[in-house]
């Protein structure tokens, strides 16, 4: 009897422990191991940090040559003081991992197409397959090779990696970042390849924009004339980033111009999403002649999909020869955007087309060989092994060609289309951007900046610069292929190597400018250069509004103060609305409007074109615009076929100048509509939508409420870890905060001779832990357009009253 009782209760206990110690999928949803996760001594409760988090910690670190002091200020920004570069990067790795380990690993898993190892769904498997087929790891391996060939970056990567691994080694379950506990897995050792993957991840965000297939389909469906009307190379609006007509005095490289054959095919495949066109950025530098202090000032705000843990990690790096502060990308050493004692720099995306698709001619059904220059060349098969959590491994064969991987083929996203398309991407080139940042962190003047940029290939960026010695500059840096006219706009014939990139524009022939007469340099993803620049270039799109507003404000303002530039970064003036709304309102039949439409009309009529948080006019205008675009371009929504919409600027231009264009006819109706009809119809649809919104939400439709922005956690379904924000602005506005994208870092630097000063903020916080007060402690000031003065420490004992935590790293005693 007793034995039975003992055995039964023992079995129940053990069974219960087993159940509670493992993760399960219940109702299609993964749940963490209930006991392990909820145990307050080790589980998620341990990730809750207390209000009082001041601490002084001494650690012995393997691989360190000399002691390193780290001071965390009240925003939890680390200030690292090391005695040499090796220790500096080791400490950067360690400290970054302390706050962002989960994010670093997750983002590199995402880049490499390994999310299925953590979360298994069909969508995630398809995502992973796409990453493999885009050759992300292939590109990262080549970048790593370049990094390891250079002794400086080889050391950087090795030490940074060592620092991260030192941190991982010391971790117990209760110290694991929250997301590991939630998803029930463990961090793996860091590798230098992951640093490279992270940079490729950024390249994917910024440099993978293209519309070659979309343009090819448009060409076949509508003809060349319409394509040129809908998608002109140049929209002829605003100032280019560098306006230097007749000033390009060099001999450009000319390649034998084989006339490119225009493709005549319809490509039916589900194209992968490329870089989001609403990601963009602003930056500018103002010379001392225009500022109140007489010293140059520099500003930067890169716009990205806003996420938590935050995209950027602020840090100060100090060692002999370097004293730099700014933001780093968790997972990559050095500072990417920032300043030092002598200079400041920031970046915006250059937009240029650096992606080509090559149509592959196969030898037959089995696709063993492809045609190149009259010969049949074997494809190189790479079997991608995608481990899927709780499921058998998925194997995907990706064929590589002279051009790159064949992303789309019979097994991937191709509908009824038995062609293969190979992906040629600049990020597959061997390059070593880490060296640029290492050098920029240490740059003293304009010529150091120029030298640092010479090895920067991608993602192509507009690098703004200012120095304490009084220079301001802009350089559009990247590795740009020399293109024939129209090359890169359409899918190319992959059977001849001469159709590929023959040469690259030499660094010294890239677009650049130093101390221009107007007293400032600026960029906002607009077209790069005046028409006298001797190279052909295209992009998916160039920005048309932010750049003009920025230049207008900067030209008009004299004796500029820091506050003026903060105000400009947060400027909500909607130039697009100012240019389009009067015409739209004119198209309405205002005499016959009634009810909600009449109210909307009068609100819009008196709107000041500012997308402020409280504005009602902004809500009406944006709702109107958002219903107008799909109504106009309904012809471009074809099942299973990639087509892209013309830009905002060109759409408005066509409404005004070509109201009878056939595209304004709505396909689903028997009538023949003109621009005016579509604008009126969109107005009714928008007002109906707003009335519905009002019933469900509030009586007044304030723009911040209607926009309903949020900073989303990197795990998309985790809305509970995301944070809603109420702000003004939108895409196409200097304060580019749309529902999901926006300024991921706002920085203002004043380069004074008495010491460089800076103010900054970002939408989140230094800690990646949702249980820390530093998870999003910078968000409030960011939302309200305010800044934190950056604590730029001279030595570890400086600014003691603002030190929250101290960390001392000691080398191992021999």
């Amino acid at each position: 009897m007793k034995v039975i009782k003992f055995s039964v209760s023992l079995l129940v206990t053990l069974g219960l422990i087993y159940f509670l110690n493992n993760s399960w999928t219940i109702g299609g949803k993964p749940i963490p191991p209930p006991g392990k996760f909820l145990d307050p001594f080790h589980g998620f409760w341990q990730n809750i940090e207390s209000e009082n988090n001041s601490a002084t910690i001494d650690l012995t670190i393997e691989g360190l040559q000399a002691p390193v002091s780290v001071r965390f200020d009240s925003l939890m920004i680390p200030h690292i003081f090391a005695q040499n570069d090796a220790d500096l990067y080791l400490a950067q790795g360690y400290v970054t991992a302390m706050h962002r380990l989960w994010q670093m690993e997750f983002q590199t898993h995402a880049a490499a197409g390994r999310i299925s190892e953590i979360l298994a769904t069909d969508d995630i498997l398809n995502y992973d397959r796409a990453q493999r087929r885009l050759g992300m790891v292939y590109g990262a391996r080549r970048a790593l090779q370049a990094m390891e060939e250079d002794p400086t970056t080889a050391l950087m990567m090795a030490k940074y990696t060592e620092g991260i691994n030192q941190y991982i080694q010391g971790l117990s379950y209760d110290e694991l970042p929250f997301e590991y506990k939630l998803l029930d897995y463990k961090p793996e050792p860091w590798t230098a390849l992951k640093c490279a993957l992270l940079l490729k991840n950024m390249a994917q965000t910024l440099d993978m924009g293209d519309k070659d297939m979309e343009m090819t389909n448009a060409l076949k469906l509508f003809g060349k004339e319409t394509v040129d009307l809908l998608y002109p190379d140049q929209e002829g609006v605003g100032d280019p980033i560098v306006d230097n007509p007749g000033g390009w005095k060099f001999n450009p490289i000319r390649i034998d111009t084989v006339a490119l054959a225009m493709p005549t095919e319809l490509i039916k495949l589900k194209k992968l999403p490329g870089s989001d066109p609403t990601t963009g950025s602003n930056n500018w530098a103002v010379s001392g002649s225009k500022t109140a202090t007489g010293s140059p000032m520099l500003c930067g705000d890169p716009h990205l999909r806003l996420s938590l843990p935050s995209i950027w990690y602020a840090i100060q790096l100090n060692a002999p020869g370097v004293n730099s502060m700014g933001v780093s990308l968790p997972g990559s050493p050095a500072i990417i955007i920032g300043f030092n004692d002598s200079i400041a720099w920031s970046v915006t995306n250059a937009q240029r087309d650096l992606v080509d698709w090559f149509k592959i001619t196969f030898d037959g059904e089995n696709r063993e060989k492809y045609l190149l220059d009259g010969k049949w060349i074997p494809t190189e098969k790479v079997v991608e092994e995608i481990k899927v959590r709780g499921n058998p491994t998925f194997y995907d064969t990706v064929r590589y060609t002279y051009w790159g991987p064949i992303t789309y083929d019979e097994s991937f996203r191709a509908e009824n289309n038995h062609n293969g398309y190979a992906f040629r991407w600049i990020a597959h080139e061997k390059s070593n951007e880490a060296l640029t940042f290492h050098k920029l962190n240490r740059a003293k003047n304009h010529s150091d900046y120029m030298e640092a940029l010479n090895v920067f290939y991608l993602p192509a960026q507009n690098f703004v610069f200012a120095s304490v010695s009084g220079d301001i500059a802009m350089r559009i840096q990247g590795r740009f292929p020399v293109r024939r006219p129209e090359e890169g706009k359409f899918v190319l014939d992959g059977s001849q190597s001469s159709f590929g990139w023959q040469a690259f524009i030499p660094n010294e022939q890239n677009v650049m400018s130093k101390n221009p007469a107007r007293g400032f340099v600026s960029s906002a993803n607009q077209m790069p250069v005046d028409p006298t620049y001797p190279y052909y270039y295209t992009a998916t799109s160039y920005e048309a509004y932010r750049n003009r507003r920025i230049n207008q404000v900067l030209s008009q303002t004299q004796a500029i103060q820091v506050n003026d530039l903060m105000k400009l970064q947060n400027d909500n003036y909607n130039l697009k609305a100012a240019e389009s709304l009067p015409a739209f309102l004119h198209m309405l039949d205002s005499v016959h409007l009634k009810g909600a439409e009449l109210t909307a009309y009068s609100i819009l009529k008196s709107w000041d074109y500012y997308n402020n948080a409280e504005s009602e006019g902004a809500s009406y205008y944006e709702a109107w615009w958002d219903s107008l675009m799909p109504l106009i371009w309904d012809e471009l929504e074809k099942e299973g076929m990639a087509l892209s919409r013309p830009t905002t600027y060109n759409t408005i231009k066509l409404i005004k100048e070509k109201p009878d264009l056939s595209f304004f006819d709505i396909q689903g109706t028997p009538e023949k509509e003109t621009a005016g009809d579509v604008v009126r119809k969109a107005f009714s649809v928008a007002i109906e939508g707003i009335e519905k919104w009002k019933q469900e939400n509030a009586a007044t439709v304030k723009w911040a409420d209607y926009k309903d922005s949020f900073i989303g956690h990197l795990l998309p379904p985790m809305r509970a870890l995301s944070i809603p924000v109420k702000t003004g602005g939108n895409h196409d506005i200097v304060n580019a905060h749309s529902r999901t994208h926006g300024p991921s870092w706002r920085m203002v630097v004043s380069l004074e001779k008495t010491g460089v000063r800076s103010w900054a903020t970002y939408p989140g916080g230094q800690s990646g832990n949702p249980g820390s007060k530093h998870y999003a402690d910078m968000l409030d000031r960011w939302s309200s357009g305010k800044y934190f003065p950056m604590v730029f420490m001279k030595d570890p004992e400086a600014a003691k009253e603002r030190t929250l935590q101290s960390l001392q790293f000691n080398p191992q005693q021999k």
């Binding site: 007793k2 749940i31 307050p40 990730n47 949702p770």
Partner: protein, 116 residues
Amino acid sequence: MKFGLQVLATMILGYALAIFLPWWTVAIAAFLCGMIFNTRANFGAGFLGIALLWLLKAWLIDSTAAAPLSERVAAIMGLSKPLLFLVTALIGGLVGGFAAMTGAALNKPKRRGTYY
């Protein structure tokens, strides 16, 4: 009286083990206490000991929390915050209860015919 002592002993031993060892060692604490004390309600004592220990610890952590992670977790699990505390206590309690029962079964029976 003895029941109260068993609960208290389970809590203290559970706490001591939890500092160094994984979460499931609370079962060892409840098991040992069940074996030593073997009161009339071992399941109850083990359950209460661990449930109270976990509830108290969770409450202590949450009372000085600088960020609403418990709310966030409750939202992920579709629970209210008080319910998250109760579920935490319940899970610890169940393990403690069954472990105490198992331990008690190793001890010589106090009274025949009584189940616990």
